[in-house]
């Protein structure tokens, strides 16, 4: 059968149990001569993407996949779409194996079998700053270790287990760098963390704080994958503003997004704030996992417009405390 070319498979938002079932099903189809390679969890570049639709961001991720990628969706309901196969939850090893085998056999006809594994080119990851940020977010979410090689600058190290960034340069220096520095950065995944002697004298910063600052200060309004100016989203939780750098306007945006799902265009209309400022905030929240991209949150009925007198009182209090 197909022993030479591995088929790359992505697993997105699978529960621990479903991942185990998936692994057993995969072992069974490999016994039948099908060569597959599973990408790190949440890496969406696979030829085949297995995705659990129960997570809030699954639909957004599904929509952001390329048309050529085959999607195997695990869902409580039947779903239809181009290059999309739906499997009803809860999944069982036998049925999972049968579906995987069928898809893999069909896909081998499309990707060919002549190349050796080393010649298989992975679909390209998102490029530029968006791609760089996406990789860092995955490393944070998967508690991995990596070195970030920056051009003509000291390397940075991410300790995903402790959720820390280790650097020899000051945090402020790194954050004030140009976007191009990060666009050209190379990320090297490590199988284990570096020892303290390898690291030398370093300063430690919370990884979430680093990602927030990087996204807000250097993203220059590039929106994360899957977010458009008209896509609606809300906040899962407020950013930890006392420990992340913020602008007073961010509080206004957060207060709005905490109450209802709205688009970037609606935020700018309602708050009168400039779009780049809103986009930077959205980027920051996305980077630290606080954005609910599949939100159906609507303003509750009791959220009636704030009366003028209360607004005036709030303005005066803000002024008194030096916020206005």
């Amino acid at each position: 059968m197909h022993t030479s070319t591995p088929l790359y498979i992505s697993t997105i938002n699978l529960s621990e149990t479903d991942l185990k079932i998936f692994q057993v099903a995969l072992d069974l189809i490999e016994d039948e001569g099908v060569a597959c390679k599973v990408l790190p969890i949440q890496d969406t570049r696979g030829h085949l993407v297995v995705i659990d639709m129960d997570s809030t961001d699954s639909e957004t991720i599904l929509n952001s996949l390329r048309p050529g990628q085959v999607k195997l969706v695990l869902s409580p309901r039947h779903m239809k779409g181009t290059n999309l196969v739906s499997i009803k939850k809860p999944i069982r090893v036998d049925s999972f194996k049968d579906v995987l085998l069928k898809i893999c056999n069909k896909m081998y006809g499309q990707i060919g079998t002549s190349a050796t594994p080393s010649h298989v080119t992975l679909p390209a990851s998102p490029s530029g700053f968006a791609g760089f940020m996406q990789q860092l977010i995955q490393i944070k979410n998967n508690n991995q270790y990596c070195i970030i090689h920056l051009q003509n600058r000291q390397d940075l190290v991410i300790d995903g287990e402790r959720q820390m960034l280790l650097s020899r340069e000051s945090f402020e220096n790194i954050i004030s760098s140009n976007l191009s520095l990060f666009e050209q950065a190379k990320i090297e995944l490590l199988s284990e963390k570096l020892s303290q002697s390898d690291m030398g004298n370093t300063t430690m910063t919370a990884l979430a704080g680093f990602l927030w600052e990087l996204a807000v200060k250097t993203s220059e309004s590039i929106l994360p994958a899957g977010v458009g100016e008209e896509s609606k989203f809300s906040l899962k939780a407020w950013p930890n503003f006392t420990r992340h750098g913020f602008k007073p306007e961010h509080l206004k945006i957060a207060a709005l997004l905490a109450k209802q799902a709205v688009s970037i265009n609606t935020i700018t209309e309602k708050t009168g704030l400039e779009q780049p400022l809103v986009q930077q905030f959205v980027n920051g929240c996305y980077a630290v996992g606080l954005l609910n991209l599949n939100s159906k949150l609507t303003a509750k009925s009791q959220n009636k417009p704030v009366d003028v007198e209360k607004k005036t009182l709030m303005k005066r209090l803000a002024y008194k405390l030096g916020f206005a």
């Binding site: 503003f241 006392t242 007073p248 509080l251 206004k252 207060a255 704030v306 709030m314």
Partner: protein, 176 residues
Amino acid sequence: MIENLTKIVFTGPVGAGKTAAISAISDVPPVSTDVACSGDEKKIKKTTTVAMDYSYIKLDDGRVVHLYGTPGQERFNFMWEMLTRNGIGLVLLVNNDNPDPVGQMEFYLDAFDSFIKETGVVIGITRMGISDQAGIMDYQLKLMERDQVVPVFEIDGRSSDDVRILIQALIAMLSV
């Protein structure tokens, strides 16, 4: 019509930093009814507020925003409802050094539930630097579980900047 007696209420368990937080933003030092601690409270701090803290912020139009701190001990909870009358919002401070700080947060959110629904709440977690009982993510996850998207920030109750950011978030919430 907003009555002249407009209040922001500070609550939370013993040792969470309510008195210090009020001091950080008020026009005059708060009037506190502190007494020497007894029993387990003595292990946390030397004195505690048994009735309430009080101070105020005078606005440029002459109006006054009153700042009330509730007594930390749960045995004084009969006063909580009274103190929240005419309140415009709640500042909940939780001491991360507590054996179950996330549970403490839930307790106060439940106790002030109807007031929070009418107004709004901001949560400040104190003593995070000296205790790793819970991380900010633990509080965020509990709030997500409760379907409450409210500000929860790590703060130093003695830092006027931190307390001001909390109040700033409360103002933002009450203005949309």
